[in-house]
């Protein structure tokens, strides 16, 4: 088959293509993954009993904003990396900014606290399980996001995979935060970030294996 014949083959009978469909599928995957992650938190771990009272605690909102900002940046990174030729641009800074902000907050919290309280601020009650639970709860998001990326055409596979894992981990952390009793900035800056990095590392590993086309 020569190239002109191939061109004719490809063009013949070609129908309209909805270029917004992949993004719509991606959104549905994210919404569904978030719903499953939240349900998992509610059924398996239970929402924290003080949830309603926490709504008036500023640090609770700082925690929610932290996870939501990371999740939003990760989801935008995925949307860009899933299409050939899109650039990350400001998204890199948007991923780093919430982490830096949380670390600054943690530094202030440790600086003003009595040194004998430092261990409590850093380890809380749940440091040994927190990162693993976040990784587990982000699984449905990971599956959904990777499914959506497979329907598009990422070209930087390791980076795209890492971004998918990062977005899943961040939104998973947001769901988990409805159970998690910890509110100290040093705790969040270490263990939440580690919890998000687990699916990120897994995504970087899985990207070249699952996303090639």
């Amino acid at each position: 088959m020569n190239t002109d014949e191939l061109v004719s083959l490809l063009a013949t009978g070609s129908e309209a293509v909805d270029t917004r469909l992949p993004m719509r599928r991606y959104l549905i995957a994210v919404v569904a993954g978030t719903a499953v992650a939240t349900l998992l938190t509610a059924e398996w771990l239970g929402f924290r009993p003080t949830l309603v009272r926490d709504l008036s605690v500023p640090m609770f909102w700082a925690k929610e904003a932290f996870c939501a900002a990371l999740g939003a940046a990760g989801l935008v990174a995925v949307a860009r990396l899933a299409r050939p030729g899109s650039r990350l641009g400001w998204v890199r800074a948007a991923v780093a900014a919430p982490v830096i902000a949380m670390w600054l907050l943690a530094a202030v919290a440790l600086f003003v606290a009595n040194p004998q309280n430092h261990a409590e601020l850093i380890f809380g009650q749940t440091a040994s399980v927190c990162p693993f639970i976040i990784a587990l709860i982000s699984t449905p998001l990971f599956v959904g996001i990777f499914g959506a990326m497979r329907g598009l055409a990422p070209t930087r596979l390791r980076l795209a995979g890492a971004a998918g894992g990062f977005a899943a981990g961040s939104v998973g952390a947001l769901a988990y935060s409805l159970h998690c009793p910890e509110l100290a900035a040093p705790f969040l800056g270490i263990w939440y970030v580690l919890g998000i990095l687990i699916p990120t590392a897994f995504g970087a590993w899985a990207g070249p294996r699952l996303l090639h086309w």
Partner: protein, 181 residues
């Protein structure tokens, strides 16, 4: 934005909206640009050029739903071309054969070469290896030019199965090329 960019983008958008003659012109002109681009860069592998042009046309076609109309078309095509090319060179560990660096996307639409050479790999043979549910829809719809409805009646499949067969068949064809090389 060069003239080539504006023109090709208009043709592709027409194609994505369902105008198959605009889409035909798009692919035809794109193949000229790709051929010139690759000839310049694969001076040591001249016999590979036409195979690659075909592989890239198939990739662009299979991924056309990933084009964001707000995005420069040069960057989109260039990234697809580079991805496939690096993939190929990695498989063959021929990286040293690359004559020119692959980092000048502005070059992509600057030149064109309309002279199609013979491809070494015959896509028709790969097509013949596809299962019937993919091969028959491609032959009737894409080569003979029958409508989806006529094809569906002719081979006793539903219309949506015919469309799925065309789509999956062309994706499978791209995968076969990849595993072959």
């Amino acid at each position: 934005m060069g003239l080539g960019e504006v023109r090709l983008r208009g043709l592709l958008l027409g194609g994505l909206a369902g105008d198959s003659s605009a889409y035909h012109t798009f692919l035809k002109e794109l193949s000229g640009h790709l051929r010139a681009f690759l000839r310049k860069r694969l001076v040591n592998l001249p016999e590979e050029v036409e195979d690659l042009v075909q592989e890239l046309l198939l990739a662009v076609h299979n991924q056309r739903h990933t084009y964001d109309p707000g995005q420069p078309i040069t960057a989109w095509i260039y990234t697809i071309a580079r991805y496939k090319l690096i993939d190929l060179l990695r498989w063959r560990s021929h990286k040293e054969l690359l004559n020119d660096p692959l980092d000048e996307e502005d070059d992509l639409l600057a030149t064109s070469d309309g002279e199609a050479a013979e491809a070494r790999r015959d896509l028709a043979k790969l097509l013949a290896d596809l299962p019937d549910r993919q091969r028959l829809p491609i032959i009737h719809v894409k080569i003979e030019g029958l409508s989806v409805a006529e094809t569906a009646r002719l081979i006793g499949m539903s219309q949506s199965a015919v469309k799925v067969g065309v789509h999956r068949g062309l994706t499978a064809l791209a995968a076969k090329i990849r595993s072959e090389s």
